[in-house]
Subunit: 335 residues, 2 copies
Amino acid sequence: MEPTDRKRPTIYDVAREAGVATSTVSRALTNPGRVNARTRDRVVEVAQQLGYRTNPLAQALPSGRTRTVALLVSDVTNPHFFGIIRGAEQQTRAAGCTLILADTEESPDLEAAHIERLSGSVDGFVIAASRMSDQQIGELTDRHRLTLISRQVTGVPSAIVDHEDGTRQIIEHLASLGHRSVVYAAGPRRSWLAAKRWHAIRAVTRKLGLSATRLGPFPPAVRGGAAAADAALGQGATAVIAHNDLLAIGMLRRFTDREVHVPRDISVVGYDDIFGADFCSPPLTTLAGQFDEAGRLAIDLLLGTRDGTRPPQADNQVVLPSHLVVRGSTGRAPS
Amino acid sequence: MEPTDRKRPTIYDVAREAGVATSTVSRALTNPGRVNARTRDRVVEVAQQLGYRTNPLAQALPSGRTRTVALLVSDVTNPHFFGIIRGAEQQTRAAGCTLILADTEESPDLEAAHIERLSGSVDGFVIAASRMSDQQIGELTDRHRLTLISRQVTGVPSAIVDHEDGTRQIIEHLASLGHRSVVYAAGPRRSWLAAKRWHAIRAVTRKLGLSATRLGPFPPAVRGGAAAADAALGQGATAVIAHNDLLAIGMLRRFTDREVHVPRDISVVGYDDIFGADFCSPPLTTLAGQFDEAGRLAIDLLLGTRDGTRPPQADNQVVLPSHLVVRGSTGRAPS
DNA sequence: CAAAGTTTGGCAACCGCTTGCAGTCGATTT
DNA sequence: AAATCGACTGCAAGCGGTTGCCAAACTTTG
């Protein structure tokens, strides 16, 4: 006894029962203005009573609209993406659509493969922290609806959390604590964010007369922290900005193991304010942003369902504000 | 200039180009044995060179197989589900299928609604930590393919992490540290796991001659920790077992705020060994299980793609082993 | 009251792929 | 050499909706 769906009623059943043509049923259900109110009511009632549910596949085939969108993230287990996933999920649901989740494992090829595979079964893609090149993304945009999170490419809609102003906040915070130089523990070579963050760090430090050094790249995960921490100590750093909170937390652990005291001996700052940043030891000073909002926005941009309350940005590239959350991992520079 | 997919080649294009009927193309591509090797090679070659990609929707419509499965989790932002999501994602991909992710927000109604909505666009459902009643689940099984994670219902395939043996490990650990009584900070009333865990705690404590008290229910999230911690202190507990790590971490924070020292004054144990359990303060003693494996297994069970290496369990209810990870949050009972 | 203009609703052709059925043709059996 | 048999492959009918086009019915207008 295979547990298969029983025969579900189709528009044919509804049409027969209501004494109209299938086209009328179809219109009554999807294009209410096109059919007489009385007929429509009857159709709707019959449909209701038969327990009719429109078959999304059959609907998608001729219309081409699948009411489904795909979200590609570079690592589903990275807490950074939780907010994004949740926001995207909520907004997708709110739009009456369905979310497909795919893990790209930090690989541009896998990103492309997923898009290729899903093309045709989704109306569009949201890519978070894409590892593809600007050119690749540009080419994809010609053939698919596409929006980006934490990445900007000319001509492609996107939602990012402000990294320039955020980095300024970080550096000023460190400068005010007396730090004269900072070390950046960089993320993956492919990472657009890593490049941007380093760029911003350089710009701000220069303006404030601090010096900046880049180390890495390191894998943006807790396991990358040990090497990053050791490298930072090797530099004699007093303050280190990690590419993200995972890396920062990994560094904190390494410092603890090596009996380097944070923040007395060295200050640590992360990006993203992920789950755990507030209860690691010491709690992490980090740049927070509304990533769930970024997820929601990316879906809105993709589906064209943005509410009018938000002023339209040029080129549909939305920049969300960020703010520094100061916790225990930063302190006065050692003298 | 709408960025829409260009006209993709169809089997008609391939058929014309290869000089065969569409049915032959279809068979050559999906049912290789049914067609002559030479013809097949030519079809495949033409398809390849035209860049033909089968349209999954059109394929699913007549066949009924969507090659898509849905994963329902009660809270996408709960790190506990990361492993499950990742495992399910991997295995789905390995089977050449696509994963749809839905958040049920701890609501049985939303679970049912999602299933209703997705029915027809997926081949089956995996429900993690379902909040539905046994009866509801039983009824759904009649109409849909369905497997469960962290939940057992007679006649429904499932993958769970051993809670009975795991709970025994927890209690024995506490007993060996001199604790004579334990408090269980319970999860949601609807949670099957919460009931099972309490049941196991009772059974084991009784056998070892300890006493056990249940408090709660508490929301299984960090924010539930404060109330749980206060309640535990009110009981004069020396050891508390939290429903899950989130709750445990929330309790740890509350104890810190109230200057109750863990583990000197009170020991805390969690379940799941989530991200963060190893770097909270103090690091959390918790019951670990292979949840990614549970995710993979649930997909295998659903799709019938289980490799033969694992001996078949009765009723397809797989129980994965669990093991206690002892960290800093448990210690000798105060005298 | 006829002519012209609106609605309504039915017909039928797809959307791209699967599959039961039947016809073709060379090979094997008797 | 005729009959039988398989292996292939093509035909065509769906799968469950959508939608352009057209005719019928109903309104409005002169």
